[in-house]
Structures are given as structure tokens and as C-alpha cells.
């Protein structure tokens, strides 16, 4: 139902209200704080729990990941592809660890499922790419957070 608003006597002339409106606009123009963030110089601080670009945590240059396949299992977007292998110093490790950046929905379930605290989602949110990038293992091993 259309609510009938009560219009005051002065409001009926409209012009007076327009002048009041003009005053409000010019007040905003002159005095109000501007909310724009000048991006490349100023950056917005996101919370520590923000889920951005992935990385695999490494200790002394060795990745924490043991290729247990829990993250590709839990991944709802099916964007993680792991090929497991063996190494003398480490029983099981990922030969290939790929994340399809276009398929990933940044839900963070891989991070929750990981028993070794290996895969992490960092705070980085600038992820523009020029092609359909698949993040390889070397790229993911760059430590870009301290989670």
C-alpha cells in the first residue's frame, strides 16, 4: 500500500525545499570528509582472517605438505591438483601442487582441512592476472604471510 506522507505547507512550494537541498549538497561538497581511498598509495587493511592468495607453509625450505590429499578432497571447487611422490628425507611430498586460480572460490576449507598447517590463505587481495593462471608449486611456496 502506498503510504500517504503528510506534506507541510512550506513543502508544497517545493522551491524552498530545493534551496534547503542545495545547502545540504554544498555542505557535503565543502566540508564533509571524503571517503575515497587512493589505491596504489593507500591500501585498505583487511582483517587477519581475510582469505586471499594461497601459499604453502615451509619450514627450513621444506614444505609442510605431505600430499595427504585432504585438501583436494574437501575442495568444493575442485581446483587443487596434487601429484604425490617420495623423497629420501621425506616419505611423501607433492611433486605437483597446482591451484587453478579461476576455479578457486576462496572458501578456506583447504586451510581448515589441512592436518599439517601447510596450505594457508594469505592477506593478499591483488590477484589480477593477464591469463588463466594455474598457480604452480614454486609460486605457492613463496611465503607471503605468517599464518
Amino acid at each position: 500500500m502506498l503510504a500517504q506522507r503528510k506534506v507541510g505547507f512550506l513543502n508544497r512550494f517545493y522551491l524552498i525545499e530545493v534551496i534547503r537541498g542545495l545547502w545540504i549538497t554544498i555542505k557535503n561538497f565543502l566540508f564533509h570528509e571524503k571517503v575515497t581511498l587512493q589505491f596504489p598509495e593507500q591500501r585498505r587493511d583487511y582483517s587477519f582472517r581475510y582469505r586471499g592468495q594461497h601459499y604453502i607453509k615451509a619450514v627450513n625450505g621444506v614444505e609442510n605438505c605431505t600430499a595427504c590429499m585432504l585438501c583436494p578432497t574437501v575442495c568444493p571447487a575442485e581446483c587443487i591438483h596434487i601429484v604425490a611422490g617420495e623423497r629420501p628425507d621425506k616419505e611423501k611430498y607433492p611433486i605437483k601442487f597446482e591451484i587453478d586460480s579461476l576455479r578457486c572460490c576462496f572458501c578456506g576449507m583447504c586451510e581448515e582441512a589441512c592436518p599439517k598447517d601447510a596450505i594457508k590463505l594469505s592477506n593478499i587481495y591483488e590477484m589480477s592476472q593477464e591469463n588463466r593462471t594455474v598457480w604452480e608449486k614454486e609460486f605457492l611456496l613463496e611465503q607471503r604471510g605468517n599464518k
Binding site: 530545493v18 542545495l22 554544498i26 561538497f29 571524503k34 575515497t36
Partner: protein
């Protein structure tokens, strides 16, 4: 006409054309930054000082964009329409004086391209020609939204042309002329003097009601918000220029901005004393002449007159932007009701009352 006069005339035409073309980037700047600041944003501020050269980038983008007419349009009228919109916009300024006459070496120069006998009427006649471009664009686009925009525009123009014309009749009666040059000269006379402060005979002081009606009508004439129904984005996408891209669209935008400049020029000329000096400028000119900076006193005065005119016009250009981001768009029936049921009777009553006052000898 001797060669000197022809040269002066050509100089004036070039000056006016260049001035009007310069209004376009200035308006773009004012509109984009002004609207941004009013909405508590910053707006484009990266290119040049305060983002002033953003307009140049826009122009370059428009020029290098592919000009692709859609397959279903009438090619001839489609490409003709932007020019039909933009040329009358420039032509209207011919009758508007932008500085007082000056005598140099025995040659009188009047800073007005043509002091036509029909003056204001010429401005209104040519100004209303601009709607043909819009109708042409709407019709040839072969698109229902464009056509609706064009239809609205024509209905709006016809309704508001009437009030626009009626609102200045009072002024014509008081000044007993339709020549814009004469009207500006008579606006320099004093209306009343109270305790040393002289209130000039500016149009706004003798015709306040006429001014308000004129202002509202000119907003409708230039298709600006709150009356920009021909291109109402929520319901018509972009209205008459929906199918246009690249430089053709830029021409429509140019026409809109030049129309704004002409409208501001008309408001200033009719109601704010045209090139009559702003308060304080007379003193400044006197000071400059006294100090001997420039020998020819008349030239200094003309310079200040031109500056006064410019400042007034720029204020009204700003006012158009200011109102745009304050008042929301009218519904079409509200627009028509305002035009025919409110402004038209007020304008008629204004003419009647002015006649009565002139008969009683007030003016």
C-alpha cells in the same frame, strides 16, 4: 564593410567558438569532480593539476574508439543527427554580448557577433532547433527506447518553450527592447539607491518571479536534471543517444554542454546584467588605470566587463551541476503538470502584473 571590420568580425567569431569549445572540457571537469565531491568521493584527480586534463584523455578515447553504427539504423539520419544537435547550440551564442562596446583608433568594436533586432527571439528560435537533432537521433536509431526519449524531449521542449518565452516578456516590457545589447545597457542603470549602496536595474531585481520561471524552464530546455527525461537512465537506458558511440556520442555531449553555456549566457544577459561590472570591479579598473598599467582606460574596463560576464556564466554553469546532484528526476506527468498548471499561469500573471506596474509608472 572594410577589411578591418571583417577582421574584427572574424576575430570575434573565433573567440566565441573557441570559448564555447573550451566550455566543454571545463564542464566535464566541473561535472565529474563536482559530483564526486558532493557525493563525498574524490573523482578523477590523477591527470594534470586537480585532474584537469582528464577531459583531454576522454577526448582522445572518444576519437580513437571504433565508430560502429548498428545494422538496423537509418545510416543517413543517424550520422546527421549529432551535427543537427551541435550546430544550433553554437549558433545561439551569436546574439549574446560578452563585453561592452569599445572605440579603438576610431573604430567601434561591439563585443557581440550580431546585434540582431530580434535578439532574444533569435536565441529562443535557434535554441529550440536543437530538439530536431534529438528527434532525428531517436527516430533513426530504430529503437523503442531512443524513440521514447525523443518523444519525451519534443513534448518537454514544446511545453517549456512557452513558459520560457512568457517569462521574459516582462523584461521586454520594462526594457522596451528585445535587442540583447540594449537590454544589457539598460541593466546598468540604477534601480534604487539606499544609503550609498546602489542596486542596479538587473533583471533579477525587477523580475524575480520571471527569473524563477525562466530558470526552471531553461533547466527543462537544456534537458538537465531534474528534467532530463529524454535520457532518463532508469527507464530509458540512455534515451535518444542509446545507439551512439565514440565521437558521435561525444558530439551529443558537446551539444549538451554548449547548450548549458548558452543557457548560462542567456540567464546572465537577461537577469544578471550581462557584462555589467560586478561590485568592486569598477574600483579595480579605476585603480589599474590610475596606476598607469594600461594606458587606454576603456580597454581596462572592457577587460573587466568580459571578466564579469565570464564569472557570472561560470557560476551558472556550476549552478547547473549543483542542482543536478541535488534534485531527483521528475516523473513525466509531474513535469507536464509543473509546466502547464504551475509555471504557465505564473508566467501569465507575471506579464499582467508587470504591465500593471508599468502603467502605474513604477518602472
Amino acid at each position: 564593410m572594410n577589411p578591418i571590420e571583417i577582421g574584427i568580425m572574424l576575430g570575434k567569431i573565433v573567440l566565441v567558438l573557441a570559448g564555447l569549445l573550451t566550455t566543454v572540457p571545463i564542464m566535464l571537469f566541473m561535472e565529474r569532480r563536482g559530483s564526486a565531491l558532493m557525493q563525498n568521493r574524490l573523482g578523477p584527480n590523477r591527470i594534470g593539476p586537480f585532474g584537469f586534463f582528464q577531459a583531454i584523455c576522454d577526448a582522445i578515447k572518444f576519437i580513437f574508439k571504433e565508430d560502429l553504427p548498428p545494422a538496423h539504423v537509418n545510416k543517413f539520419y543517424f550520422s546527421l543527427a549529432p551535427w543537427v544537435a551541435v550546430i544550433p547550440a553554437f549558433m545561439t551564442f551569436a546574439a549574446i554580448p560578452f563585453a561592452g562596446p569599445v572605440t579603438l583608433n576610431g573604430t567601434q568594436i561591439s563585443f557581440q557577433i550580431a546585434n540582431l533586432d530580434v535578439g532574444v527571439l533569435y536565441c529562443f528560435a535557434i535554441g529550440s532547433l536543437g530538439v530536431y537533432g534529438i528527434i532525428m537521433a531517436g527516430w533513426s536509431s530504430n529503437n523503442k527506447y531512443s524513440l521514447l526519449g525523443a518523444l519525451r524531449s519534443s513534448a518537454q521542449m514544446i511545453s517549456y518553450e512557452l513558459t520560457l518565452g512568457l517569462s521574459v516578456i516582462g523584461l521586454m516590457m520594462v526594457f522596451q527592447s528585445v535587442k540583447l545589447g540594449d537590454m544589457v545597457v539598460s541593466q546598468g542603470e540604477a534601480l534604487v539607491s539606499i544609503a550609498g549602496v546602489t542596486i542596479p536595474k538587473w533583471g533579477i531585481f525587477i523580475q524575480p518571479v520571471g527569473f524563477i520561471v525562466f530558470l526552471i524552464s531553461i533547466f527543462a530546455e537544456t534537458n538537465r536534471l531534474p528534467f532530463d527525461l529524454p535520457e532518463g537512465e532508469p527507464e530509458l537506458i540512455a534515451g535518444y543517444h542509446l545507439e551512439y558511440g565514440s565521437m558521435r556520442f561525444a558530439l551529443f555531449m558537446m551539444a549538451e554542454f554548449v547548450n548549458l553555456a548558452v543557457a548560462s549566457g542567456l540567464i546572465v544577459t537577461l537577469f544578471f546584467g550581462g557584462w555589467q561590472l560586478l561590485p568592486g570591479f569598477g574600483f579595480l579598473a579605476h585603480l589599474l588605470t590610475g596606476a598607469g598599467v594600461i594606458q587606454n582606460g576603456n580597454l581596462v574596463v572592457v577587460l573587466f566587463q568580459f571578466l564579469s560576464f565570464l564569472i557570472k556564466v561560470v557560476f551558472f554553469l556550476w549552478f547547473f551541476v549543483w542542482v543536478r546532484w541535488t534534485v531527483p528526476r521528475f516523473r513525466f506527468d509531474q513535469l507536464m503538470a509543473l509546466g502547464w498548471k504551475v509555471l504557465f499561469p505564473i508566467a501569465l500573471a507575471n506579464v499582467f502584473v508587470t504591465g500593471l506596474l508599468i502603467y502605474k509608472g513604477v518602472f
